[in-house]
């Protein structure tokens, strides 16, 4: 039993989680979706890498406020459809990214890679009130 399988077994995760494809990229960058299982529970990768610095690719949602250290990473460009939505609704599978510096906005439809310390568990941002289940802390980012 390797470390990952041991961890999954110890956490009592269902067999389907263990069978989920392991994100494999030469440069160790994963996609945001690799943090979640289909039922939105954390993936084996997320559980194993908690507290470590990881690289994750996705899209920068338009920031909630100017001069912020914080943005939301989405799997696909966040489209707010005027004929679909009465207000912006965040998808369930997002990542809150807290950066070392004030962020420079990158177009919401340009793929980026962000690297930071992976934190799991519910957290309410005291400044914005934004509630997140998973975050990157001390993050940096660049265009993919």
């Amino acid at each position: 039993m390797d470390r990952r399988h041991f961890l999954l077994a110890a956490l009592g995760l269902p067999a389907i989680a263990a069978a989920a494809p392991w994100p494999a990229r030469a440069d160790d960058t994963i996609r945001l979706r690799d943090l979640y299982n289909k039922d939105l529970s954390f993936s084996g990768y997320a559980l194993e890498r908690e507290g470590e610095r990881v690289s994750i690719s996705g899209y920068m949602a338009p920031p909630l406020k100017a001069e912020s250290h914080f943005f939301v990473l989405t799997n696909r460009p966040l489209a707010v459809c005027p004929f679909c939505e009465t207000e912006a609704q965040w998808p369930d599978d997002i990542l809150a990214v807290y950066c070392k510096r004030v962020i420079e906005v990158i177009s919401f439809n340009t793929r980026i890679v962000t690297r930071g310390k992976l934190e799991l568990g519910t957290f309410t941002d005291p400044e914005t009130g934004f509630v997140s289940r998973v975050r990157l802390a001390d993050a940096v980012y660049e265009r993919a």
Binding site: D39, P77, P82
Partner: protein, 495 residues
């Protein structure tokens, strides 16, 4: 006279056979298949019985182009080249092209298109079941301009009514079955302008229509619009209502069964008693991401089984609401997986009903700014790259076709949307990125687009309507969208 007709048909057949015997291509499968189709068409008889049941399937945003893409996707998923695949609705005997413009929109949104199908008249964009003389959001001016819906008509005649959507049940297409509103966005009271007393919000109207016995089953998303802001639902999300009303409890107090998960859904008693199913706070999940919720086919089957307990029949409106949303996102993969789920629901509805007494109509409310590149060889993956035609064979070569910029392109593209190659942080300039087929086939891939927009748009292009059952043959040629109501109404009243 009848004998004369049969005699002349016999001559036509024998002429056809004689002709075929002389042609070098007579043994080709293309030829023999088409000959068989001729015989099927000649033998076809219209069904002129009264329709006991009407099922109206709408895949939101599934115009002729999107439907084409779903056909190829489904065929390729089944291991074929894709283009020769036949979706269940494409085997229906009757078809027309539908003009979807509205009284003020060359390009429609889903509110007036739903109105047209449910009331028999066209109206303004953004409004549902209110006539065209009223301005959008004019709550004061709407009094006396509300239209009577097909659901209300058939309910008065003793039929049951069901409404299903994978979008919020308060979204435009399902709301067209039961609500009258001068603004489609007034899904809960928090959006209703102060002092607006001529209409309630859409969620409240659904519960009123259930109480009134017009709506018997409502299944979809949109739970948040039914519960107060201070209430947290079973999935940990708060409601949106600011009037303190819990409409789910109100429905239950009136005898409705309620379900919010696939487990609840499986426990519903399907005996014709009222059912409210709200499986997400907002829209239900895309089929590709679905977990803990029933599929569109499962909701369709449960509704038909329950509604069939009414011997007077039923009207059931079924919407695949998120074909539209994935197109808005520029994400071909989810457009097509939700389109396949739509087709699966149609196949199941067809299985569970009788062609003799059930009119099944399959259509869309509008098309999107989706488009298709060429010249792709057969079998080019519909969500992937366009490969060259093999001059010596059938299936495409391994060579992706390239633009004048030397880069490959996908089969599907969008005229506008988030996939635009023009980027804001590059002063709206840009170029097409390099692309591999693996990248394009990824489920999250956004197809390239031209005009930058935060959401890809609808288009005014025609959609198809395909039908079977009583009076389905009234669909023919190029029709106005509001004509669909008239076929339904004629079919249920035919002597």
């Amino acid at each position: 006279m009848k004998s004369a007709l049969i005699a002349s048909l016999a001559v036509a057949f024998s002429t056809g056979v004689a002709l075929a015997q002389e042609l070098p291509q007579k043994d080709s499968k293309w030829f023999t298949d088409a000959q068989a189709k001729i015989q099927e068409m000649v033998a076809r008889q219209p069904n002129t019985k009264r329709a006991k049941n009407v099922i109206l399937f709408t895949a939101d945003g599934n115009g002729v182009g999107t439907n084409y893409a779903i056909r190829l996707f489904s065929g390729q998923q089944a291991g074929g080249l894709g283009d020769d695949y036949v979706q269940p609705q494409e085997a229906f005997p009757n078809l027309a092209l539908v003009k979807t413009y509205t009284t003020n929109g060359q390009t429609p949104d889903s509110a007036p298109t739903a109105s047209a199908m449910n009331t028999g008249v066209k109206s303004k964009n953004t409004m549902i079941n209110v006539d065209e003389s009223v301005s959008v959001s004019d709550c004061a001016g709407m009094a006396g301009h509300e239209l009577k819906t097909f659901a209300e008509i058939v309910s008065e005649n003793g039929k049951s009514v069901g409404v299903i959507s994978t979008a919020r049940i308060t979204h435009a297409t399902p709301a067209g079955v039961y609500a009258k509103t001068v603004n489609r966005d007034w899904e809960d009271n928090s959006r209703l302008p102060e002092g607006c007393t001529n209409q309630k919000d859409i969620a409240a109207q659904l519960i009123d229509q259930m109480k009134a016995g017009v709506i018997d089953i409502a299944l979809g998303g949109g739970r948040g619009h039914f519960i107060p802001a201070e209430v947290t639902d079973g999935e940990g999300k708060t409601g949106k209502r600011t009037d303190g009303q819990n409409l789910i409890e109100a429905a239950q107090a009136n005898g409705a069964q309620y379900a919010w998960s696939d487990e609840d859904f499986a426990k519903l008693t399907l005996d014709g008693s009222p059912i409210l199913g709200l499986f997400e706070s907002s829209h239900m999940k895309y089929e590709a991401d679905r977990s803990g919720e029933p599929s569109l086919a499962e909701m369709t089957a449960a509704s038909i089984k329950s509604l069939q307990s009414n011997e007077n029949g039923f009207y059931l409106s079924i919407e695949a609401g998120r074909v539209d949303h994935a197109n808005h996102d520029g994400n071909g993969y989810r457009t097509l997986t939700d389109g396949k789920a739509f087709a699966d629901a149609i196949a199941l509805a067809d299985e569970l009903t009788n062609d003799e007494d059930t009119l099944i109509i399959v259509t869309a409310d509008h098309e999107h700014a989706i488009s298709f590149n060429g010249y792709c060889g057969r079998g080019s993956p519909i969500t992937g790259l366009c490969y060259d035609i093999d001059d010596a064979g059938v299936k495409h070569t391994e060579e992706p076709l390239k633009g004048a910029d030397g880069k490959p392109f996908t089969v599907i593209g969008f005229l506008n949307g988030v996939g635009s190659v023009l980027k804001e942080d590059k002063q709206w300039t840009g170029s097409r990125p390099e692309l591999t087929n693996d990248e394009a086939m990824d489920k999250d891939y956004i197809q390239q687009a031209l005009i930058p927009m935060s959401s890809e748009t609808h288009s005014g292009e025609d959609v198809a309507v395909m039908a079977k059952g009583p009076w389905a043959h009234l669909f023919d040629g190029v029709i106005e969208q509001n004509y669909i109501f008239h076929v339904m109404n004629y079919a249920v009243n035919a002597e």
